[in-house]
């Protein structure tokens, strides 16, 4: 499994860079200030420019994939979400993909049985794993926002409380930490263990998984094992958001590794498949209304085509048409 090992090795090497840089070369300023700013700049500019790049390309045709009954006769019940006829429902369709992975929920697993029989069983593991992974990441990112506020807003505090309501360890255990770790492990294992997934996976599929896994493991170990002092971390983050370029205080090296890998992820993001985060909103098979017979969709570059006109056709077949008693324009 070379294509899985190389990305793993890459993440390990990337993790060593800040470790050596901070611990032995004293480059705290570089890894605490310079790289985070640069990474954020790349992420924001890169993301925006990729979105702009997609948006400036035209959508010549109305091509929704219809997954339900279209709007037709009054007494036939339309599936408004899967075959939307208005902008509102098309938007709802896209949002149901974004928040609930609706299409993935349909997933089945085909199996071949004796007598060349095929069966299609419901298979929701990918949906569940994907949902757990993405929602946990979102909650974790939001939780981290507490580092950027002097007074933590109530909404974030509620989210934080909800996430650790189990209250089983000290410090209180976050459910999303366990969830994301389980989900990322699942997503990784299925790429390695399933023969079909092995064929389709590329190193670029393993790399972000290993990267996120490393970030999560470092975060967890800082909180529960090495118990990093969060005060200087918060001070550094406050400095970053306030654009005061003061050197960071004494923080454990593990934190720098954690932060650096996040920066790597941020830089990698706009150039990779991770852009599916923005792309999902633009997919023309999902975000268009299925109303192309009721309302004309315009193509900005509609090519000028010369077709064979009736007159040319009649010129070629006039005698035969007359014999067959077909009406003709010219005698």
């Amino acid at each position: 499994m070379k294509k899985a090992l190389i990305p793993l090795l890459m993440v390990a090497v990337l993790a060593l860079i800040p470790y050596i840089g901070v611990r032995y070369a004293g480059l705290g300023y570089l890894f605490g200030i310079v790289i985070p700013y640069s990474a954020m700049a790349v992420l924001i500019c890169g993301f925006m420019s990729r979105m702009a790049d997609w948006l400036r390309r035209p959508v010549p045709f109305c091509i929704p994939t219809t997954c339900g009954q279209e709007k037709s006769l009054d007494w036939i019940r339309q599936d408004k979400l899967e075959s939307p006829s208005s902008f509102f429902y098309a938007a709802a369709r896209v949002l149901s993909e974004v928040f609930f992975f609706r299409s993935l929920f349909r997933n089945t697993r085909s199996e071949l049985h004796k007598g060349s029989n095929l069966t299609y069983g419901s298979n929701k593991w990918l949906w569940l794993g994907g949902l757990a992974f993405h929602w946990s990441l979102l909650v974790i990112v939001l939780r981290h926002a507490r580092f950027f506020f002097i007074m933590v807003p109530d909404s974030l505090q509620y989210l934080d409380d909800a996430d650790r309501f189990l209250d089983v360890t000290l410090p209180a255990f976050y459910m999303t930490d366990a969830l994301v770790l389980a989900a990322v492990t699942f997503l990784l294992l299925r790429r390695i263990r399933d023969a079909r997934m092995r064929v389709i996976s590329l190193p670029t599929d393993f790399f972000p998984l290993f990267l996120i896994m490393a970030i999560v493991v470092l975060g967890i170990s800082m909180r529960y094992v090495t118990k990093v002092d969060v005060m200087p971390v918060k001070a550094l983050m406050m400095n970053l958001v306030n654009f005061t370029f003061e050197p960071p205080g004494e923080i454990g090296t593990l934190f720098y590794v954690h932060l650096f890998l996040i920066c790597v992820l941020a830089i990698y993001f706009p150039f990779s498949k991770l852009m599916h985060m923005g792309g999902i909103f633009l997919s023309p098979t999902r975000n268009q209304a299925n109303n192309s017979r009721a309302k004309r969709h315009r193509n900005p570059w509609n090519s000028a085509i010369k077709f064979r006109s009736y007159a040319e056709y009649e010129d070629d077949y006039r005698e035969k048409m007359k014999k067959a008693k077909l009406p003709v324009e010219k005698q």
Binding site: I63, R109, H297
Partner: protein, 549 residues
């Protein structure tokens, strides 16, 4: 059976011997290391030079996919890479679909060709990777730096051979797109890939000859106007023999209210002709003021399988003829890809049709607001409305000799969203109806395996494999409910499914929906009906027996 397909017992054995759907062991192999192998039954004959010349298409020559040298034109690499670049600029869909895939694998086992061949390159994700790998090599800068890491490769003749093979093992059915969390539509990628291949003369005669015919004569089969009329007239005679009723279709008649357009397969092919007889009976029954054109005598559009420009060129005839004849609106027959074109492309490409009126059923007064702009109504919508308003005199027991199931055609299902109208019609004209399993119908329907211009004899091996999932579902209802009739609303289905059924599920016949309507219609002045439109005896109506009603 065709010499281009293995014996059914051999194929069954092959399936029984492999434990999983994916064939072969890929532990230390990448998909791009597997060579393409053309053999009998897995490639379509290339377009004849004269066909290409008549269309003004590139690189007319004699060649075969099994040749070592495909005689690609000089500068073909530039043609492809510039062609791809320009299409990426014109289609957000293409760009997005190449960029956003995360290779989650949800699509992998949704493709009928993958299920039937077990070939990893038939997983939709890999099919798209065939282009992505080249695109990544040429385009985004960062990926270029990370070459090797991102799975990119150079454009070579081997790649072109691979494209030819696998973009012709996709029927543009869009099933994968239903399951993709980003809605990535392999049909879109295949359509544009075939456009590119046509630029360098890598093509399929079974697509391009109909295109050329359609351009010249108005229909795919190349039927000239007088023959077209003669053939429908012979159907009129058959109708008279069976029912005693004389129907009176008109041709190229100015001032008719409705222009009726259906695939030419309904005029010439068996069993499509029976569907045509059904239409003719229906129109006669309701007294519809309609005409049929010999110039716009093709509903289907093989341009769709060639290039978007060709699709537009062939489709333009419909509005052009409707305008010339001064009809109010257009009624379209049963066809799959025709309706993808009419529903999703026609108005954009060749509209606005402001010389037509919003379609209104002259019988029921129903306004077809869903076709307000295109002004073209699907026959299943039209008939469902007639039945709903009780305007048809139907005797569904006349179809008692048929135990039916309904095959949703890919384009009607996933490119239009019409599911309930044909079922409503079917259940009103036939009492015995059983659905196939839920993961094989409606939006999850399986392709016949021969769509998008692959319905050719020399492609039989791949067709029979690709059709396996559909055949399997039919077999299920045959075993469980003794189903003997597969009803469909697509001309390619009517042409290809009989072969598929003969191969995998003998004993099941293929019907068009309006053939069953024609059987059930109680016509004014008809003689005692004992036979259906195929001249098969109808159960309970045999000669000499008392009629129940």
């Amino acid at each position: 059976m065709s010499k281009y397909a293995p014996k059914v017992s051999e194929l069954k054995k092959e399936f029984d011997e492999k434990p999983t759907i994916l064939k072969g062991n890929y532990l230390d192999k990448e998909w791009w290391d597997i060579p393409v192998e053309f053999r009998e039954g897995n490639w379509c004959f290339p377009a004849k030079p004269e066909v290409l010349e008549s269309l003004g298409f590139a690189n007319p020559r004699k060649w075969a996919a099994t040749d070592q040298d495909w005689k690609l034109p000089s500068g073909w690499k530039k043609t492809i890479s510039e062609g791809l670049k320009s299409r990426l600029k014109k289609y957000r869909s293409l760009k997005l679909f190449l960029d956003t895939c995360v290779r989650c694998g949800a699509c992998a086992d949704k493709c009928h060709f993958f299920l039937g061949t077990g070939d990893p390159k038939n997983m939709p994700v890999v099919r798209a990777e065939l282009i992505r790998s080249v695109y990544r090599n040429d385009f985004p800068l960062a990926e270029k730096i990370l070459k090797g890491f991102s799975g990119s490769r150079k454009l070579t003749t081997e790649v072109i051979k691979e494209w030819h093979m696998y973009f012709n093992q996709c029927t543009e059915c869009r099933r994968c797109s239903v399951f993709c969390p980003f809605g990535i539509d392999t049909a879109e990628i295949t359509m544009l890939a075939r456009e590119l291949l046509n630029l360098i003369g890598v093509n399929n005669n079974w697509i391009l000859e109909p295109v050329s015919n359609c351009n010249r004569t108005g229909n795919h089969l190349g039927i000239e106007p007088h023959t077209f009329v003669q053939n429908i007239e012979s159907l009129v005679e058959d109708i008279e023999d069976i029912t005693g009723v004389t129907v009176k279709p008109t041709f190229n008649r100015k001032g008719a209210e409705v222009l009726f357009i259906t695939p030419s397969g309904d005029v010439f092919g068996d069993p499509g002709v029976y569907t045509m007889m059904g239409y003719l009976l229906l129109f006669h029954h309701i007294g519809l003021d309609y005409t049929i054109s010999t110039y716009a005598s093709e509903g289907g559009n093989f341009g769709m399988f060639t290039s978007n420009d060709m699709m537009k060129k062939l489709n333009a005839k419909m509005y052009h003829e409707a305008k010339r004849l001064g009809v109010k609106w257009i009624l379209g027959g049963e066809c799959g890809h025709m309706w993808r074109v009419v529903h999703q492309y026609m108005d954009t490409m060749n509209g606005p049709a402001d010389f037509l009126e919003q379609p209104v059923s002259p019988i029921t007064g129903t306004k077809f607001t869903n076709a307000a702009s295109t002004k073209m109504v699907h026959i299943a919508e039209f008939t469902a409305d007639l039945i709903h308003h009780k305007k048809l005199k139907l005797d569904p027991t006349r179809n008692d000799h048929l135990r039916t199931t309904f095959h949703d055609s890919c384009n009607i299902a996933r490119g239009m969203g019409m599911f309930d109208e044909p079922r409503y019609v079917l259940q009103n004209v036939c009492k015995r109806f059983h659905e196939m399993p839920e993961n094989t119908i409606r939006e999850q329907t399986f392709c016949c395996g021969s769509g998008s211009g692959l319905n050719t004899e020399e492609y039989m091996d791949i067709r029979m494999r690709g059709g396996l999932p559909r055949a399997n579902a039919v077999k299920h209802v045959k075993d469980k409910h003794q189903v003997n009739s597969l009803v469909t609303i697509c001309a390619i289905d009517r042409a290809s499914l009989p072969t598929l059924m003969n191969y995998w599920v003998p004993g099941v016949s293929v019907y068009g929906l309006h053939e069953l309507v024609g059987n059930a219609l109680v016509m004014q002045g008809e003689k005692k009906r004992t036979e259906d439109l195929r001249e098969n005896p109808m159960a309970g109506f045999e000669d000499g027996e008392e009629d129940d009603e």
